[in-house]
């Protein structure tokens, strides 16, 4: 056993492996991982790998390089977990999961969205293309369209300054007061808390709309009117 292996802990998950990396410069972490894999190729071959990089900041080219190197060794990287918001964003951009079913014990990002007041919001200044999935423990604001095949799952409200044609779930942890707003509400599917949209009639003249759960407990969309 050489020293580099002390950077790596491997645990078996129900459906794959979880590799946790101790804090170190990314090059050291990456080479330690590849070295570990190459020293036990049969153990890793065909594995689904979730990688915990702790506080490491990873950009697109670094994560793509790692994923390609793992894929060449028949390892499929499906999740990257980290404390760094940059790394989480990179993982999401590349279609990787950022959470595994058992939450990490240090994770205490529970804050109340009960009041839906001044809580953190994720601001996305771009159109979300098909296949993009955004999951956020707060509100989500998009300056752009949400294309069919794109998904947003937010514990708070979802505001789209553009066309909503994809799928949105607001109040995802059960908050019935959450709302979904869009300049053109033509979604594939809407959910607020537990309620799922019935067929929202496509509008002849689309305008800004707000969707919420009404007094009867039903999901309803209405045109925006000030006041």
């Amino acid at each position: 056993m050489n020293e580099t292996n002390s950077l790596i802990q491997i645990k078996g998950l129900r459906d794959g492996l979880l590799v946790s990396l101790d804090d170190a410069p990314w090059e050291e972490q990456r080479s330690a991982l590849i070295l570990q894999v190459d020293s036990q190729p049969d153990f890793f071959k065909g594995a689904r790998l979730a990688l915990d990089v702790a506080s490491q900041v990873l950009h697109v080219n670094e994560l793509v390089e790692l994923r390609d190197q793992l894929s060449e060794r028949s390892i499929s990287l499906w999740a990257v977990i980290s404390e760094s918001p940059t790394t989480e964003k990179t993982a999401q951009l590349l279609g990787l999961a950022t959470r595994i079913s058992k939450p990490r014990p240090e994770e205490s990002r529970q804050f109340s969205v009960e009041n839906l007041g001044e809580d953190p919001a994720l601001f996305l200044n771009r159109t979300l293309r098909s296949g993009t999935r955004i999951e956020f423990a707060g509100h989500v604001v998009v300056l752009g369209d949400v294309n069919p095949g794109a998904e947003i799952v937010a514990e708070g409200n979802v505001i789209i300054w553009g066309r909503l044609r994809g799928m949105v779930h607001a109040g995802s942890k059960g908050n019935k007061k959450a709302v979904i707003c869009a300049l053109d509400l033509s979604p594939m599917r809407l959910r607020i808390a537990e309620e799922i949209s019935a067929m929202l009639k496509p509008q002849e003249h689309p305008g800004p709309e707000i969707a919420r759960i009404n007094e009867d407990g039903k999901l309803q969309a209405e045109f925006w009117s000030p006041g």
Binding site: E72, L93, G95, L128, S130, G131, G149
Partner: protein, 265 residues
């Protein structure tokens, strides 16, 4: 000279990637460029058939990567155009036979001697697609004016943006202006409205394309075919020329709108 490496992909299968690669290769080589095209569809190779070169395959790309032959031995020269070469895919292997780093190494050896390296990507977004885009300087996305093709193209463009592969450019293939006018088919504007990328060209539906495929003679050779003309125009745009869009529709206003859309970033 250093080659421009262009990958043609789509997400959806059957929209016309291989047809586009073959025709752009012919059009570029007929117009003074030295071109190599690479069939990236390992296991389901088609580019050789469309170019009419299937009887000339001795070695393929996997033979080169696995060291059984030199690169030049796998390159098949076109029957009619001396500056056009094909590196065929392997038919008896699959996409796992090649990796992104293999593609980078192979293409590095080609860059110095050619003007264009065109890579025919397979359908999908998995290993074959990753191999095809690994070495690309530029990626062209082919789509049909049809809702599921456009959905897949959006996904692919999203992946290309996320992986910082530079701005994609779009080719809309098999557009039927009569169906568009009857509102039975998406228009180019409908497609661009969703995809929001640069439009490189529109290729109209043309039965000469299938006739050409079956004969192993890409339609870009055919001066009377509108699809052939469209491909020749796209080739010129790839080389940096400004070429007006074909008048597929007699209405002048459509032509003007497309001009504006083509300039939209």
């Amino acid at each position: 000279m250093t080659a421009q490496v262009v990958t043609i992909t789509s997400g959806k299968g059957g929209v016309g990637k291989t047809t586009a690669v073959a025709n752009l290769a012919v059009a570029l080589a007929s117009n003074g460029s030295k071109v190599v095209c690479i069939d990236g569809d390992i296991g389901l190779r088609n580019l050789d058939v469309i170019l009419g070169l299937e009887n000339r395959i001795v070695y393929d790309i996997v033979d080169v990567i696995e060291g059984r032959c030199r690169l030049k031995q796998a390159m098949i020269r076109d029957k009619k155009l001396p500056d056009l070469y094909l590196i065929p895919a392997a038919q008896t292997r699959d996409k796992n036979a090649v990796s992104p780093s293999d593609m980078n190494r192979l293409i590095k050896d080609l860059r110095a001697d050619y003007d264009f390296v065109l890579i025919d990507s397979p359908a999908g977004i998995e290993r074959g697609f990753r191999n095809a885009i690994a070495a690309a300087d530029r990626v062209l996305v082919v789509t049909n004016p049809e809702i599921s093709a456009v959905r897949d193209a959006d996904r692919v463009i999203g992946i290309l943006e996320a992986e910082e592969k530079g701005p994609a450019a779009l080719i809309i293939n098999r557009l039927n202006p009569i169906l568009v006018k009857k509102h039975d088919m998406l228009s180019a504007e409908d497609v661009l409205d969703l995809l929001a990328v640069e439009l490189l060209g529109i290729v109209p539906e043309d039965e000469n394309v299938i006739i050409g495929s079956n004969r192993g003679a890409p339609v870009a050779y055919d001066t009377k075919s509108k699809a052939g003309q469209a491909f020749r125009n796209i080739a010129r745009r790839l080389k940096g020329e400004t070429v007006p869009f074909l008048d597929l529709d007699s209405q002048g206003s459509l032509w003007e709108r497309l001009q504006r859309l083509a300039g939209r970033k």
